[in-house]
């Protein structure tokens, strides 16, 4: 017995000369939040749409709940069991929140009550509001509500926070957190590092159609994130020289800060002890590596706010 909800093996999607998805393999486990992290054009949405049975694959295999995404009868079973928030979700403008959720719910035999879903997404106050009058964050919440109306076990959230302001983004994060608590398996695609790191149990970094690395955020950071950094704000060149001589990996940056890279907790305490002995009154900050460092390490570039590589 396996707890795999999604099994993808050597999946390829070719558009003419462009190989959008290039032989990727991965699994999704029951109840986890799995993130596809990558820039625009990396193959995230293409992969997700193949799993949602609305895009054909070129070669390889993809199974959802054990059903083959390429077989007609299997597709019907998959569609009954998944919930989807597509990229740039939209709905009928002149219908209310409740009516739009009813519309999607009307497509399923097995479904939750619309009011139940509305309550779950904290949309009671907006239930009678027309979709066209909602803010971006609320529209995304309606999209998530529509994705949950058939009580799916697997929920695809394709770039759920793109284009949202920070407040709306955090609202959506809270919704995703709730999904996890409800025991749903969530397949999240994003180009926001922080989002992937905070929300996901496992992350696959994808670029140019290939998965670069896959694992839990902690594992990826410890493996690819590099050393922790200790920063002494408004230090001096003399202090930088002392720490460099003693521990190595120290530099004095343009902002006037002394930056020390430490290998482990033991070395960090040693640096702190040295600073205490010197009776320094400078502000000290410890920076742990993040998924952004992982991405930089494995892809060689960063991602802009708009999702492009730089």
């Amino acid at each position: 017995m396996t707890d795999s909800v999604v099994e993808v093996s050597s999946l390829v999607k070719q558009y003419g000369n462009l190989r959008a998805v290039d032989g990727i393999s991965f699994e999704l486990h029951d109840g986890e939040v799995f993130a596809f992290l990558g820039p625009n054009g990396a193959g995230k949405t293409t992969t997700v749409e193949i799993l949602e049975c609305i895009r054909s694959l070129t070669s390889g295999s993809a199974r959802v709940f054990g059903y083959d995404v390429t077989k007609g009868e299997d597709v019907k079973e998959i569609k009954k069991r998944i919930g989807v928030l597509p990229q740039d979700f939209s709905a009928l403008d002149k219908l209310t929140v409740k009516e739009n959720i009813d519309l999607i719910g009307g497509m399923y035999k097995k479904k939750l009550g619309t009011l139940e879903v509305i309550k779950l997404l904290d949309l009671e106050d907006k239930a009678k509001e027309r979709f066209e009058n909602l803010s971006g964050g609320l529209k995304q919440r309606v999209g998530v509500a529509a994705a949950l109306v058939n009580d799916p076990q697997l929920v695809f959230l394709d770039e759920p926070t793109t284009g949202l302001d920070p407040k709306a983004r955090r609202e959506v994060w809270s919704v995703i957190d709730n999904l996890k608590r409800l025991g749903k398996t969530v397949f999240l695609t994003t180009h926001y590092m922080e989002e992937a790191q905070i929300l996901s149990d496992r992350i696959a970094v994808i670029n140019k159609g290939k998965i670069a690395v896959i694992g839990s955020p902690q594992d990826l950071i410890s493996k690819y994130g590099g050393r922790k950094i200790l920063v002494v704000r408004r230090g001096s060149k003399e202090l930088a020289k002392i720490l460099q001589d003693k521990y190595g990996g120290t530099m004095f940056n343009h902002g006037g800060d002394v930056v020390v890279k430490v290998d482990d907790v033991k070395e960090m305490w040693q640096v702190l002890s040295t600073l205490t002995d010197m009776k320094t009154d400078k502000e000290i900050e410890i920076q742990a590596p993040t998924i952004e460092d992982v991405f930089l390490k494995v892809v060689g570039s960063r991602i802009t706010e708009e999702g492009e590589l730089k």
Binding site: Y15, E49, E52, C53, I54, R55, S56, K76, K79, K80, I82, V84, P86, Q87, D88, F89, S90, A91, L92, D93, K94, L95, E99, D102, L103, I104, G106, M107, Y108, R130, A146, N150
Partner: protein, 421 residues
Amino acid sequence: MIRPLVIFLAVTKNWIRSRSGLFFSIMFPVMLLLVFGAIFGGGGGGSASTLFVQNLDINPDETPTQLSSAFVKALNSTKTFAIKDVPSDADPKIWARDNLGPLGGNIRIVMISKGFQDDLLNGTLKVRVGISYSLLNTTYQYFAPYLNETEKMAYEQGLAQMRQYNETLPDSRTSLTLAFDASDQSATVIKNIVINVANAFNYHIIGATSVIEFNEESVTGNRYGAVDYYLPGIIAAFIMTNGIIALTGNTTEFKRRGIIKRLSITPLTKFDWIIGNVLSQTLLSLMLTAIMIVVGWIVFSVQVIPDILSIIMIFLGSVMFSGLGMVLGGLVKDVEAASALGNAIAFPMMFLSGTYFPMEFMPSYLQSFSRVLPLFYFSEGLRYALIYRYTEGVLSNMAVVSALAAAFIIIGSVVTRWKEK
């Protein structure tokens, strides 16, 4: 069957709440009906055509002669013309051009030549003597066998003197000149009216009356007005534009915004989607028809009352054009292209299917082309159903419309993409 109904309810609600949707689907056709009715309905006292008349047949005291004046009055009595007198010393064409008025229009001039009255009197006398001679001669030929030789000679002598007298009378014919612009499409009608007035004037002068009585009767058996005849065409044309332009536009807009993609991820099939949209358009068509007929009743006192065949025809026509809309919506990707394609198909069809203009006016090759257009069969069928009550005509057109409706829905199901490549 639940899913198409869910789609039907959702898209119908979405449309009913859209002001622009309501305007273009319902209000605009009603406004066009009002404009058409006002132009062609004959109500409201339309303005008469301007006719310039230059009367050169004047007495020495500069007043028009009695008969030329009477002819102008006869023209005026038709109530077709607003007559403007052109001074006898003016160049009529230049004067007419300068006096058309602020709204402009076409120049039509009747010129009454000098000697109109004299020529008319002389010509009339010669005609009258000729008719009397002919009548007496025929009578003589009939009674000759019963007359003696003396009586015959007296008769023949009298007839010969009459003929000689008639030959001495001048062979006068008076003439009228009608000048108009060759591009003036109403000129033929105006010319015929002027000729009819002149003929009536001729008869009156020689004391004759027409022995042929002219009665008017409607071919439908009902006293329908012009708006009754236009109504089926306007209804058919707008059901077509709602199907082709509006539905194609909506479908591509839903596609652009990812709404169709979102629905395609659910168990909804593309056939369910098409049926739901077609049902919504059909409801719209029935509402449009009902509103237009009610407006026709109230404003133009139209007589048409839809029967069950008309309602079935409207239903099938709506299904046919909604199906065509779904075909186009399935083929095109963006809203601009949908709008251009919808207009490119709808407008030629509107004008070539005999909806607004009689097909008899078209060249024969265009008439043949019209018979392959779906709107031709729908419009004809609806006219047969609403106006002529000609069941066979309705059924034959209904058969074509039904076949096309089925074909378009099937093609629509094929070309609508439910899965990306």
